[in-house]
């Protein structure tokens, strides 16, 4: 776990330093006075991050120093559940988030929230209490929608599909 973590952290900061900063942090052609350029700070932080990642990686190779780099075995968090099952559950959750974002423009914020809540209640296993779950899934977003739109004047997206249907 320690080695993988060290590699990922080094790679992440390395990617920012070598790929993202040259593309997305352009240096202005003229910098007044002695003001440091805009890429100075992200570069500094990325370099420090890379060094820390390499340090974690190096410390993970020796059993004596591993305890400093990896004091709590993050692998133990997983328990006995097979990794594919965990990945599948995680994948479903991320898919639900992505579908929610996509559905807002189509179905509107309220309906998309109700569907996301139903999906999450299924994924957490609470859907066993179907009636309570269903009432919560419909009533909570509806109440929040009414509160925010009337009391705070928030204008939630209504959704193109519902607009086309004249709802």
């Amino acid at each position: 776990m320690g080695i993988a973590r060290g590699v990922i952290i080094t790679a992440l900061f390395g990617f920012v330093l070598l790929v993202l900063i040259p593309i997305y942090v352009p240096r202005p052609s003229f910098i007044p006075g002695f003001a440091p350029p805009p890429d100075m700070w992200p570069r500094t932080v990325s370099i420090i991050g890379m060094v820390l990642g390499l340090l974690l990686l190096g410390l993970s190779f020796s059993k004596k120093t591993q305890a400093i780099a990896d004091p709590e075995d993050a692998g133990s968090i997983r328990g006995d559940t097979p990794l594919p099952t965990l990945l599948l559950r995680f994948g479903w959750s991320v898919l639900a988030f992505a579908l929610f974002v996509a559905a807002v423009s189509l179905l509107g914020f309220l309906l998309a929230s109700i569907l996301l809540l139903v999906a999450m209640l299924v994924l957490t296993g609470y859907w066993r209490n179907r009636w309570v779950a269903l009432i919560v899934a419909v009533a909570l977003p509806l109440l929040l929608y009414l509160f925010f739109s009337s009391a705070l004047n928030t204008r939630f997206p209504t959704g193109s599909l519902l607009r086309a249907l004249g709802v």
Binding site: I8, F13, V16, Y24, V25, P26, P28, G33, F34, A35, P36, P38, D39, M40, W41, P42, V45, S46, I48, G49, L52, G53, L55, L56, L59, A67, I68, A69, P71, E72, A74, I77, R78, G79, D80, L86, R89, F90, S93, F97, F100, V104, S113, L116, L117, M120, L121, T124, G125, Y126, N129, L140, P141, L144, Y145, F148, L152, T154, R155, P157
Partner: protein, 490 residues
């Protein structure tokens, strides 16, 4: 001065004023306790209503909302591991583990006692040391600010989690993410989309990092993690616990007072610094992060300790220390009062009325906290499988209502996924958050200092104050490494 304070006392002690302050405190506690609803939002939303009120009651309402929401943030931090406000993020470290042990009531009571103590001390400090402390804070220049924040970050990285290295990695990730958007000279950085030119707001990052990973943990590990519904359970804070925590509470209050008085530092950094100091000096430091009441006392006394002292630079110098005092500055000006040295010349009676009102509001905070605690304790009885999706929906609506933008909602969800990965890799979230909040100020002060010195980095260690903070940062690193080496050997 005493005579002026007595006259102000008579003017403030009316039923109408008490009602306004009580409403502000109670409303603030409720708003602060709802994830996604921040104290800033509460104060901002109340501002239009103050147009129709007398000057002092209107400021007292805003102050009460601020205080209430600062305490309210701890309610959800303890019960559902979702800090309602950024300053309560530190309270989750010990509050939530205590709630999981069936001692949510004890955690909430300790948070309340500490908040009221911090708040009261803060108000006293506002009355007696406003001007001198504000003058001292004004002398702090960019290099001193930079080193102060480096020290704060190092402390946070050292005390969060069990590895200093992982804490520092977390801080670097937070600092990097804080660079997204427009910098101080108008250059855009990491603007992968047009929305990203505006940067990432604190609220979706904070809520996403703390609330969404909890939901994902329940979804992903549901068969492996015991899901006991939390009870209010053990309610009482024993005398021994109170005695044990008193030192941290008083120290935290003073840290809050000092850090609150320095513009821009604010309650989040104060809470984390106080927590770090309490852990360092405690006899029970091994219990920190596992449900130690002293940890709650330290963070809550510090964050509420800022409430009064953030008014010091506002009143004495006209400089708002954070967004909330910025809104208050607007409220003062609406009523024809200009905060700054002249305020003490032209509106001395009003200033004293405000001081007295703030002292009253500390007492009201205690009453409102006790009453609201019972109400919010019902949250702990809801099973996590139901509560976590409910929190998600509350966050989505709350975040959308702040900016009316789906971009912040996407940031919220993306940060949730990112926070879950951080959890998997045992990278603590607290240094990330504090680095994200302090990041822009840290960079701004570094760049200003370098511009002043014409690129010479020795300016960062050019004054006694910078040396002091640099030495403290090195001291924290050495102590933390020594402790970790000791543990590794054991």
């Amino acid at each position: 001065m005493l005579n002026d304070l007595l006259i102000a006392f008579q003017a403030v002690a009316t039923f109408e004023n008490f009602l306004i302050m009580a409403a502000g405190i109670w409303g603030g506690v409720i708003i602060g306790a709802i994830p996604g609803m921040t104290g800033t939002m509460a104060v901002t939303l109340a501002l239009p209503f103050t147009f129709y009120m007398q000057p002092i009651p209107s400021i007292l309402l805003l102050v009460a909302l601020y205080k209430g929401s600062t305490y309210g943030g701890s309610v959800s931090a303890i019960l559902i591991k979702t800090p309602g406000t950024a300053s309560a993020a530190c309270t989750t470290l010990d509050g939530y583990p205590l709630a999981r042990q069936g001692k949510a009531g004890k955690a909430l009571n300790m948070a309340l006692y500490s908040s009221c103590t911090g708040d009261f001390i803060s108000n006293i400090s506002l009355i007696f040391i406003a001007a001198p402390l504000a003058l001292l804070a004004l002398r702090i220049g960019p290099p001193e600010y930079f080193m102060l924040m480096v020290f704060a970050l190092t402390t946070v990285a050292g005390v969060s989690g069990r590895s200093l290295l992982l804490g520092l990695v977390s801080a670097c990730l937070g600092l990097l993410l804080a660079t997204v958007g427009e910098d101080m000279y108008g250059s855009f950085r990491f603007d992968l989309t047009v929305d990203m030119q505006g940067g990432l707001a604190v609220a979706p990052v904070l809520i996403g990092l703390f609330a969404i990973p909890e939901l994902l943990k329940i979804v992903v590990f549901r068969n492996t993690e015991a899901q006991k519904p939390m009870q209010l359970g053990d309610n009482k804070v024993t005398r021994a616990e109170l005695r044990r925590s008193l030192k941290s509470m008083l120290k935290g209050s003073m840290i809050g007072v000092v850090m609150g008085a320095i513009p821009g530092i604010g309650p989040s950094a104060a809470a984390f610094s106080s927590y770090g100091e309490a852990q360092r000096s405690s006899k029970h430091r091994e219990n920190f992060g596992k449900g130690e009441v002293e940890g709650i006392a330290a963070s809550e006394s510090a964050n509420n300790g800022c409430c009064g002292s953030t008014m010091i630079p506002l009143l004495a110098l006209g400089v708002p220390g954070d967004v909330i005092t910025g809104v208050m500055l607007g409220a003062f000006m609406i009523h024809g009062m200009t905060p700054g040295p002249m305020l003490f010349e032209n509106n001395l009676h009003e200033v004293y009325m405000l001081f007295i009102g703030m002292l009253f509001s500390s007492i009201l905070l205690f009453g409102a906290g006790k009453a609201t605690m019972r109400f919010f304790s019902h949250i702990s009885r809801i099973p996590p499988g139901l509560m976590a999706p409910i929190v998600l929906i509350l966050c989505l609506f709350g975040i959308f209502s702040i900016s009316n933008s789906m971009y912040d909602v996407i940031v919220l969800l993306a940060m949730g996924v990112f926070g879950f990965f951080m959890f998997l890799f045992a990278i603590p979230a607290a240094p990330f958050l504090i680095a994200f909040i302090l990041g822009p100020m840290l960079e701004e002060n570094l760049r200003r200092a370098l511009a002043i010195s014409r690129g010479d980095p020795s300016i960062l260690v050019s004054s006694p104050i910078t040396w002091l903070f640099a030495s403290l940062a090195v001291f924290v690193i050495v102590i933390t490494i020594r402790q970790q080496l000791k543990k590794a050997k054991a």
